[in-house]
């Protein structure tokens, strides 16, 4: 028998590389899922994906007779425009049959008629494998079989002309989507999203909020509200981070601590801390961030893996349009000033003396907010930001309790270098926010050097500077003032005083990192999505919402506020 290959097969243009058969599954599940995975390259495995992979390792059964069998082999076809890995192919009744194994249950005809059926996406997938097989073998494959392991059912799918046409139409559809520069919209079927492995990236509920009236926000978001890994801060010298199989070993004078790599999200190396090349390579492989910070707290760089091109092209396209930049800058500056205003109001509430002392600054900041909301240029936004910051820091001492020593109070905002202890603490904390924002930007695939508000400079990637404005008060000023008021800082042992500048001592640095990291574990109800999530997850959420601003759904970014 010869392969029944029609002459009117779609012929792939040379610039159209073949698509994975698995993508058919994604396509029928949700066009957006297909686009995110196959076009943007945003794969994210969840528990169902891993369970499916395990099935292929454990449960694809061996043959119980001597008939010929091909297992788990790669096939591809230029003319079909597809490639993939066939689970198994066997000769049954003289003909080749393609087998596909599925972890879940089969579809039933109806609730009364329990006759097993294949799910549409599985049916198309097995047909595609059958078509690839027949091209490879030069023989017609007339049947595909799908094994559903959860209810132990095998469904037979006849490979007829109808289904062949369906496969070709699906390939055409995929090619059309691939040529498009825009992400398809979120699916109408919310149930699909709950079981989708890309729910964390796609954030469908956050997108639905923007088209829904107020009050209709009743569904839980699918964004994880807690961090499930830890950050290693290596601050002592000598210290070396090494790798052993899947563990990181941190060697210091006090001994070696072994940490399972699966539990680590980032390794931050301060000053002279060492890391071996093997450890860096393993971190890159396991998507663990590696970042270098000077003893003074300045982030000098980090390991960067190749970015996702489509995401970055969309970012460049959006952020070269001045109206988009202005709108994002306005949102950011208004949010930043609102934080400062709200924090001054909250911090002096019930304290009439402090409120009276801060009142003039509060008024000036309030005016700056309303001017910023109407601002029509980046320059005027910079102006309002500066005015607000000046008044905010001029009243910053009012946030401190009377018990805080004079040496820990602010004498005007100074930076590069900070001239007093409080300025030193502020700057150090901002650097930690910078580091966190930079790591997160790179982890989700955006380009840190392409921003919307800050001037391009080589030493400070603008997008990091832009986005960290949202977090200065929330992630550092608030916990810092709290810790000062609780008397947690020692004016001598926590600082190193030099003429003209102040650094943190080793002890002070550890205290600052602990304070910041502890803040990241506290939870907060996001005013826009209404989700209660850890501050440590907030940065990623805001960045994903920022990306939505230029990916088809705007209005959600920068809505963070304190109450």
């Amino acid at each position: 028998m010869t392969a029944n290959l029609d002459s009117n097969d779609t012929v792939a243009a040379p610039e159209e590389p073949p698509i994975r058969v698995m993508a058919l599954h994604a396509l029928l599940y949700c066009e957006r899922l297909f686009y995110l995975e196959e076009v943007e390259g945003l794969y994210e495995a969840d528990e169902r994906v891993y369970a499916g992979r395990r099935l292929h390792e454990e449960r694809v059964p061996k043959l119980d007779d001597d008939s010929r069998e091909l297992r788990s082999f790669e096939v591809s076809s230029e003319s079909l425009g597809l490639f993939g890995k066939v689970d198994a192919a066997r000769i049954r009744d003289g003909d080749w049959v393609a087998y596909e194994h599925k972890k879940g249950r089969c579809k039933r005809v109806s609730s009364s008629d329990k006759t097993p059926m294949a799910w549409p996406s599985d049916r198309l997938q097995v047909a595609a494998y059958a078509m690839l097989l027949e091209e490879q073998l030069g023989q017609t494959v007339t049947q595909g079989r799908i094994r559903y392991h959860q209810d132990n059912v095998t469904v037979r799918v006849p490979i007829d002309d109808l289904i062949r046409a369906e496969v070709r139409a699906a390939v055409e559809m995929m090619r059309r989507l691939r040529r498009s520069g825009d992400r398809p919209p979120v699916s109408d079927n919310e149930k699909l999203c709950r079981r989708c492995s890309l729910r964390v990236i796609c954030l469908p509920e956050e997108e639905r909020i923007t088209v829904q009236p107020e009050g209709a926000r009743d569904r839980a978001t699918l964004f994880p509200s807690r961090r499930d890994r830890r950050t290693l801060h290596v601050t002592t010298v000598p210290a070396t981070v090494k790798r052993s199989a899947r563990q990181l070993h941190v060697e210091t004078d006090e001994g070696t601590k072994k940490i399972p790599m699966e539990q680590v999200d980032a390794v931050v190396l301060y000053g002279g801390a060492q890391i071996t090349s093997q450890a860096i390579a393993a971190c890159v492989h396991e998507k663990v961030a590696v970042q270098w910070v000077t003893t003074g707290g300045r982030v000098t760089g980090m390991v960067e893996t190749p970015g996702r091109v489509r995401q970055r092209i969309r970012q460049y396209t959006a952020l070269t349009q001045s109206d988009i930049c202005l709108q994002l800058a306005r949102v950011t500056v208004v949010a930043k000033i609102q934080f400062q205003l709200q924090y001054l109001l909250r911090g002096t509430r019930g304290n009439e003396i402090a409120r009276a002392a801060a009142q003039a600054d509060i008024e000036m900041i309030r005016r700056a907010v309303s001017r910023a909301e109407k601002s029509e240029s980046l320059d005027s936004l910079r102006g309002e930001e500066g005015i607000a910051a000046r008044h905010y820091f001029s009243s910053f001492n009012q946030l401190l309790s009377d018990r805080v020593a004079a040496s820990l109070r602010m004498n005007g905002r100074t930076k590069h270098p900070p001239r007093d202890r409080l300025n030193c603490l502020l700057s150090y904390g901002y650097s930690m926010i910078f580091g966190l924002v930079q790591r997160t930007i790179l982890a989700i695939g955006l380009e840190p050097a392409f921003g919307y508000f800050h001037q391009p400079r080589t030493t400070a990637p603008p997008l990091v500077m832009d986005v960290m404005e949202l977090f200065r008060t929330l992630l550092w000023e608030m916990p810092l003032v709290g810790s000062l008021n609780r008397g947690q800082w020692d004016e001598t042992s926590d600082f190193e005083i030099y003429p003209g500048h102040v650094w943190l001592s080793d002890e002070g640095r550890k205290k600052a990192i602990t304070l910041f990291e502890t803040r990241l574990t506290e939870s907060y109800r996001h005013p826009y999505t209404d989700q209660s999530l850890e501050y440590g997850r907030m940065v990623e959420l805001e960045l994903r919402l920022l990306e939505k601003e230029w990916s088809g759904s705007s209005g959600a970014f920068g809505q963070l506020r304190i109450r």
């Binding site: 395990r54 994880p224 499930d228 290693l232 399972p260 699966e262």
Partner: protein
């Protein structure tokens, strides 16, 4: 949601020294050894499934694997008298470490 981490006991019988070493090394990347063939792994459902998939790639049909999920209350009740036990079963997972 799936960001919730739970304790699991992972116990194995591997009938080949080479595979045994590989399985043990893999588990060291996920959790801590409690006894010779017993690890404790605190993981989200997603990470646990990833571990089980990676184990399935290493283990043969003749090997055995037992994964025992522990609820939070059970975990705090684990005695710390046996050799490899730690006393921090009830602590929340650390989100950072400073060296």
């Amino acid at each position: 949601m799936s960001s919730q981490q739970k304790w699991n006991l992972v116990s194995y019988d591997v009938r080949d020294p080479k595979r045994l070493r590989r399985v043990a090394k893999l588990l060291e990347g996920y959790g801590e050894r409690v006894q010779y063939s017993l690890f404790r792994v605190r993981a989200t459902t997603e990470r646990l499934e990833k571990l089980r998939w990676e184990l399935s790639e290493l283990m043969a049909i003749e090997d055995d694997l037992l994964v025992i999920p522990l609820c939070d209350r059970c975990a705090t009740k684990v005695d710390d008298h046996s050799r490899g036990d730690r006393s921090d079963w009830g602590d929340p997972p650390p989100s950072f470490e400073i060296f």
